[in-house]
């Protein structure tokens, strides 16, 4: 059971963090050589798919992580490096708390992208709109793209921090 939980947890974080890094490092690079209209199509398609991968893997990482914490007992902790304790007085407990906060921030970032920023980018002016209304919609879409860009960078940073915090737990935590 512990092995299955550990594997699913590691896979969920891998899909999430590795996917985020790949989308930034690979897709952005490929987009530079594409015409803007096709950049829009690729962004829309990949964003629609990736948001589900992101949301599901983050949810799985959260559920399995919680299950793993609930299964920790004193005998298990005593056998680990530095004999950590599941308390806020110990670096291990503080790192776990930090990891939970990072996870919550990531969930908020992915949720805002999936349900607010991505749909806002896809909005188009209805037929028969006045030039002023079209201009306003364009500005709104531009703002959504700008916000999305910033949230993506924050998400990438947070996922790297989360991986670091998770890895530090093997050595007793860093908090």
């Amino acid at each position: 059971m512990d092995t299955v939980l550990g594997t699913v947890h590691a896979l969920a974080w891998s899909v999430y963090a590795g996917g985020a890094l790949t989308m930034e490092w690979v897709l952005r690079y490929a987009q530079r050589t594409m015409p803007p209209s096709q950049v829009g199509v690729v962004c829309k398609r990949s964003g629609q798919r990736y948001r589900w991968f992101g949301l599901v893997s983050l949810a799985v990482a959260g559920v399995t992580g919680l299950a793993m914490v609930l299964r920790i007992d004193d005998a298990d902790l005593a056998g680990r490096t530095g004999h950590p304790e599941l308390s806020l007085a110990d670096p291990y407990g503080r790192t776990l708390l930090l990891l939970a906060v990072t996870w919550a921030l990531l969930a908020a970032a992915v949720g805002s992208m999936a349900f607010w920023l991505h749909p806002a980018q896809a909005k188009r002016s209805p037929a028969g709109s006045t030039p002023e209304a079209v201009q306003r919609d364009r500005e709104r879409v531009g703002r959504a793209i700008h916000r999305m860009d910033r949230v993506l960078k924050l998400e990438l940073l947070l996922s790297i921090v989360a991986l670091f915090l998770g890895a530090s737990l093997h050595a007793g935590g860093v908090g």
Partner: protein, 183 residues
């Protein structure tokens, strides 16, 4: 070496090991299930350019990850006192008689297969896929070249999917080490 430095080294080895695995698995999933389908939504000529660009970058990630995985893996085993600078170099439980040792050997075998597949994709199949035809090429040569390209693309797809499957097995093996191995 001071205890605090040893602890930080342990954290950094673990961090880069986990990061490399995440990049390999997450990258393979994103390429297969996100970027691949998105590529089909644009015109074929542009899709080909996008495919080349994404594959060029992704191969850098793959090679970087494979290198980091083996280097940090060996450093972690050395730090745990399982690999030493004397004969025999492997200490218990890193032996064939122990489940831990068999699982680590299983991981090493998977890494070697991923390395071989990476070499095949980078140095054999991709050059066939991206090679340009010279002026004055006959129609039969063009047809033969297109056939070879299609075959290379098919093999790249098979090998990439096999790599993804192997990486998932490797994640299972790696996670099981905390509880003494699985083989």
């Amino acid at each position: 070496m001071p205890d605090e430095l040893i602890k930080w080294l342990h954290i950094f080895y673990g961090y880069f090991h986990d990061l490399a695995i995440a990049v390999y698995i997450g990258g393979a999933v994103a390429m297969e299930f996100v970027l691949g389908p998105a590529q089909n939504a644009i015109p074929p000529a542009q899709a080909q350019v996008m495919g080349q660009k994404t594959a060029d970058r992704f191969l850098w990630l793959v090679w970087g990850s494979l290198t980091l995985i083996v280097v940090t893996g060996v450093l972690r085993l050395q730090r745990m006192g399982l690999i030493v600078g004397e004969w025999p170099p492997f200490k218990s439980p890193l032996e064939w008689s122990d489940s831990y040792g068999r699982t680590v050997i299983g991981l090493l075998v998977i890494w070697v297969v991923l390395l071989i597949n990476g070499v095949l994709i980078t140095f054999v199949l991709r050059p066939r896929l991206t090679g340009k035809m010279s002026a004055g090429t006959s129609a039969s040569q063009v047809t033969a070249r297109q056939g070879a390209r299609l075959q290379a693309a098919r093999w790249i797809m098979y090998l990439t999917r096999a790599d993804l499957g192997l990486a998932l097995v490797a994640a299972l093996f790696g996670a099981s080490l905390k509880w003494g191995g699985i083989l």
